[in-house]
Subunit: 370 residues, 2 copies
């Protein structure tokens, strides 16, 4: 309800009559509505946050019982899917009844509209006006986490810490990377993850050339560096950090490259506090990993984190977001180790009133040897 | 490449110069580009399928190496996120260079546009024309699975079959439902799932009142019926089916209600073949579970299945989709067992040239007793 009030103050400033929200994190942010049912793209879900009064849910009947357990009392439903009108008429009626002429929805970077475009056009026709951009209200609100949100992300990080500590149980010379991926997800669940929406990684001698490909069936070999990067979820909140391991023997060069990544994280931590900018964190890390070249093709050295694996801001030179207490960020420096290979390291932090503290248990300068 | 040619034939029929695709399954359908990196909403990805010639990928640099392993050769990249222009200029240039004036994107039911609306407006301004609906080209193509796609879905179903067979190892009186959910996901991974994007379920005496809520910590009790419904993924393809179990003692009434669900599936299977309609499958099941009342609040009794947990068509009275060889469907009848509770059963099938066959191993009329 505090979130509703904060949103309404910003809406009043901008002359917006209602926010129309259609995605999972947006709806959940205002209602607490938590379900994995969003995995099905079949049905649209709408939440209307009016400039005054409580939000109104306009949702498929199948979700009514669960929504009724939230603090939302005005829940309007239709039996979806309906090929004649999949909720658009009901939503338009709701907006008219609430007297909302100027309706806004998130339109900026890292947002999308989760409803068919044909229906969006129909909706604008039905309410007789073009829906406009929220002007960044949703990112501004969601970037600052409450104590409860930070505590939940801490639990997710703790789960991942414990899972990473058990990697020696599942990985070593001869184990296919695909098996490591499968078993690492099992470790995450065993340690308390509700589910594991994201796992990426790589393995190769001295480094890896890619951090977004699916795992191959190639067995790990002596001298490989294995990286696992997980986004697991507890109570609807993500952690997102990685660990590098060496398989069997390791060179001093590799450990030195890894230590540089730890130094980069420490450099960012040293300046992370309210008033610093996202860009400053970028430069603190970039100075160490590239000597200040301005980054690499991955495009950023960290990002926000919360209900989604990645959120605003981005740690890039162009991001002038001013850090504030309650922001949860990843610090994710990467380093080019030659021959087209790289190492990437990532930690999770929260900005406090005086500085920042780690949510992930900060990793050692030397990679753990498997 | 065959998919590209089929799309182009349909585009020519409709006078469309290019399809603009922005979502994971759409891009993967034409390229094979498979990564869990889509979990991050930070970056947009674009694929242009022109009316003649090969598709062009316009994507963040971080994805270039993986895309280069696909059959796509024209890959244009920018370093995303870019706050001045997050790929829109590059995409507009590409469309102009290809001479594409009439650009279409999926706009119908069960679709959405995965890019910021502000950027979509900017793109339409840059190319000087409004982007139109694909008129259902993408659903029409994706509804018919190739033999390779069916074989992959079969593997996913086989994994789930094996995991369901092991439920007695993890569930019984006193085990919290949340623990069952966690351990069932571990079983799915152990049996070969790449990941488990979806798990739903419920438990209660005689039935459950909800199939979309997160699992509670309440322990299973004697007399509960436990339902687990999984959408696990192998090589980018889903299965989606459920199993009901009884915990300890079970009444004849419950087993009879369950048997009716099996009868409903069998009734749909008996008529499932090329030429029958989605609506006919609905009615075959609805006649048995409600006596022909026209369904329930869940809204449908099955749906398509493939790269997504749920796809077109919907098994509802209004869906006149004519079944064709290669369609993969779920049959998902539910039954009201009184006191606000229900049972839901689900199997996966593929339509063949002469009928249909089960991809999930069809369940017994009597629920397995835990």
């Amino acid at each position: 309800m505090a979130r509703n009030a904060r949103a309404q103050a910003m809406m009043t400033d901008r002359g917006i009559d209602a926010l129309l929200l259609t995605t999972e994190p947006e709806v959940r942010y205002f209602t607490g509505y938590l379900t994995r049912f969003w995995e099905s793209p079949a049905r649209p879900w709408f939440l209307v946050v009016p400039a005054s009064g409580d939000p109104v849910a306009v949702i498929p009947t199948i979700g009514a019982a669960l929504m009724a357990r939230s603090w939302i009392t005005d829940i309007r439903t239709w039996r979806s899917p309906d090929y004649d009108d999949d909720g658009v008429g009901l939503l338009a009626d709701t907006l008219r009844e609430l007297g909302c002429a100027k309706v806004a929805t998130p339109m900026g970077l890292e947002t999308h509209l989760r409803m068919p475009l044909d229906d969006f056009d129909m909706l604008q026709g039905a309410i007789g006006s073009k829906i406009i951009s929220d002007g960044g209200i949703i990112p501004a609100l969601r970037m600052i986490k409450s104590e409860a949100e930070v505590a939940t992300i801490q639990i997710a990080c703790d789960v991942a810490n414990r899972a990473f500590a058990r990697v020696p149980e599942i990985a070593g010379v001869g184990v296919p990377l695909s098996t490591v991926f499968r078993k690492f997800q099992m470790l995450c669940l065993d340690e308390g993850a509700d589910f594991v929406p994201y796992l990426a990684g790589g393995a190769g001698i001295g480094g890896y050339d890619d951090v977004i490909s699916p795992a191959s069936n190639a067995p790990l070999q002596d001298g490989d560096i294995l990286m696992l990067d997980t986004g697991l979820v507890v109570d609807g909140y993500f952690c997102d950090f990685d660990r590098n391991f060496t398989v069997g023997s390791v060179t001093d060069t590799s450990q030195a490259a890894h230590a540089k990544l730890i130094d980069a994280v420490d450099a960012a931590m040293a300046i992370a506090k309210p008033g610093a900018t996202a860009a400053q964190l970028f430069h603190a890390m970039d100075d160490i990993v590239t000597g200040g070249a301005g980054g690499s093709d991955t495009g950023r050295l960290g990002h926000g984190l919360g209900m989604q694996l990645t959120e605003w801001p981005s740690l890039i030179p162009a991001d002038q977001t001013v850090l504030a207490e309650g922001m949860v960020l990843t610090l994710e420096p990467g380093i080019d180790v030659g021959a087209g290979k790289m190492l990437v390291h990532e930690e999770n932090i929260v900005v406090t009133d005086t500085g920042a503290r780690f949510l992930s248990a900060p990793y050692t300068r030397d990679m753990v040897v498997l």
